[in-house]
């Protein structure tokens, strides 16, 4: 089990507003290094909720979460931020880029925050990743001057900047047209197969899910397959 990247044990989650609803019930699963996993299920079954917990942003749950063998349960806010910075890369449905910054600066920010490499090195790494995703020519553009599909690729480059253990995505293709969805999927597939990158992607898109290595099927807050 040395190569388990992420492990969820008995995760339960309730919302109390306006009435108490159990959204996640007894979630148990683990992700190994190099896995390319899709989480699917009907709308409202709790996929996003689960992903927010796994990404350490939501701490209001019961059960255990281990990332890279470390328990997340009793870590402080700043320590969890550090885990997200170093070990997790994010891609959301809506391409959250900072409009005050250029494309390359957006990619660099988590790298600068990590402070493992100096500014030149971070810039070099960011450029490498942009080029790998065929958007090197956009580097100096402002973040709000690029198209939706391009933004999503910038977001992927940003997720990759610190060589994370795992990339998580919440419907990363949900807001894209067919062509761009394909493009993004191909990037994920390439990352998994060429670079042995671990990926955990929530998706509605059945054809997308079918082509991953493993599908986790959810229904009413439970994993059914």
């Amino acid at each position: 089990m040395g190569n388990t990247i992420l492990e969820a044990k008995n995760i339960n989650k309730e919302f109390h507003d306006p009435i108490t609803v159990q959204v996640l019930t007894d979630i148990n699963f683990s992700v190994n290094k190099g896995d390319f996993v899709a989480i699917t299920g009907k709308s409202g079954c709790g996929k996003s909720t689960l992903l927010y917990i796994l990404s350490t942003m939501d701490t209001d749950y019961t059960g255990e979460l281990h990332i890279d063998g470390e328990a997340m349960g009793n870590k402080k806010e700043a320590e969890l931020a550090r885990v997200r910075n170093e070990k997790i890369g994010f891609v959301f449905q809506f391409h959250y880029l900072l409009n005050e910054f250029s494309v390359i600066e957006n990619v660099m920010l988590p790298g600068l925050k990590l402070n493992k490499f100096n500014r030149q090195e971070v810039e070099h790494r960011a450029m490498e990743r942009l080029k790998m995703l065929d958007i090197g020519h956009l580097a100096l553009k402002n973040a709000n001057q690029v198209s939706g599909g391009e933004k999503q690729r910038v977001a992927i480059a940003r997720a990759l900047i610190n060589d994370p253990f795992i990339i998580m995505g919440d419907e990363p293709t949900g807001n894209l047209d067919k062509k761009n969805s394909e493009l993004v999927f191909d990037i994920f597939k390439r990352l998994a197969e060429e670079f042995n990158q671990t990926l955990l992607i929530v998706t509605h898109d059945q054809s997308f899910a079918q082509r991953t290595h493993r599908i986790i099927q959810m229904e009413d807050g439970k994993i059914i397959a």
């Binding site: 927010y52 931020a81 550090r82 910075n85 994010f90 959301f92 900072l98 925050k113 990590l114």
Partner: protein
Amino acid sequence: MNLSLIISIAKSLLLARWKQTLVAAIGVTFSITMFITLLSFMTGLNDLLDGLILNRTPHVRLYNDIKPSEHQPINMDTAYSGGHNFIQSIKSGNSRQEIYNSATIMRTLNNDTRVAGYAPKIITQVFFNDGSIDISGVVNGIDVEAETRLFHFADYIIAGNAADISRQANSIVLGKGLADKLLVNIGDVVQVTTAKGELFPLKVVGYFQSGLQELDKVQSYASIATVQKLMGKPGNFITDIQIKLTNLEIAPPVAKEYASLFNVDAEDIQTANSQFETGSSIRTLISYAVGITLLIVAGFGIYNILNMMIYEKMDSIAILKATGFSGRDVKRIFIVIAISIGFFGGLVGLLFGFGLSYGIDQIPFNTASLPTIKTYPINYNPMFYVIGSSFSLITTYMAGWFPSRKASKVDPVVIIRGK
């Protein structure tokens, strides 16, 4: 930690909303400008009013008061020392106003390092005769050189020459108000009747204007020798010794010490002029209160703009947090934004404040009662600039603190889910 990153993010957020930022900074600039100008002007005015009195007031004055003897004969008689002695209808003794041993006292003062200088003086009441009217007045016999050096006497001579009273025998400088009453010009002779009833002619060589009209209506100045002659007293007769100390604060203990050492009355400046201190400190207090109120108002401006900025930047905050920035980092970013508004706004405010007070300093200000003043008085105390800049930093920090805390508490899940 990684402060330069925090600062560069803060800078980008600031520049993205540079118009609002500018408005907030202008608020700070305005209040600091007013704070500096107000205090410089008010304090300048205070100094002027205080100087009116304090410059001319000795730190310690030695004199002999006419009063009943403290040692009544009956108390010295051993036969009555056992009980309480009730004495009625005490009269002041025939004690003289003269300071005894003045030469010895002055020699001692010469050797006292706490003494910056002293000026001997004779004060005597006279009548100025103007036709059939007698106007009561005071003649001060002074050492012009010492009086000018220590108490700026020459500054208040508005016509004629101060030094003339020591150069010309039987000459006098009249208070402007007194000269107006007597209708005399420079070069005229006034008749003076002494307390003993002798008539004495004195030549007017100048006018004196102190700025205090009541004083100018009765005061006049002549040399010590002239006044001694007027009074028929010998060359060592003086009634006052005015002492200026190197440090004004030690005046009360020094006065006490001299009183017992020389066996004279000694009055210190703090006792003589306590009311002026109160006036200036209240004016200063009001200026500070107004200045600080302005800053607090500017602080609310910054608070508003930061709040608005945080509301607009919710998405950015969420993404920063999702990609690994902690609540503390986010808080710092917004604190840096607030402080830089305070810093740059305040800096420009200091410059404008200096400029504005310099401008006021150039405006002519002539008034009959203040002959030495030509423009509005300004005090360029660097302390105002220190206080102004620290207050601008402190208020902006406080104004930034609550919004920053709010930003640090933004839950990225709520924002990301809400999209």
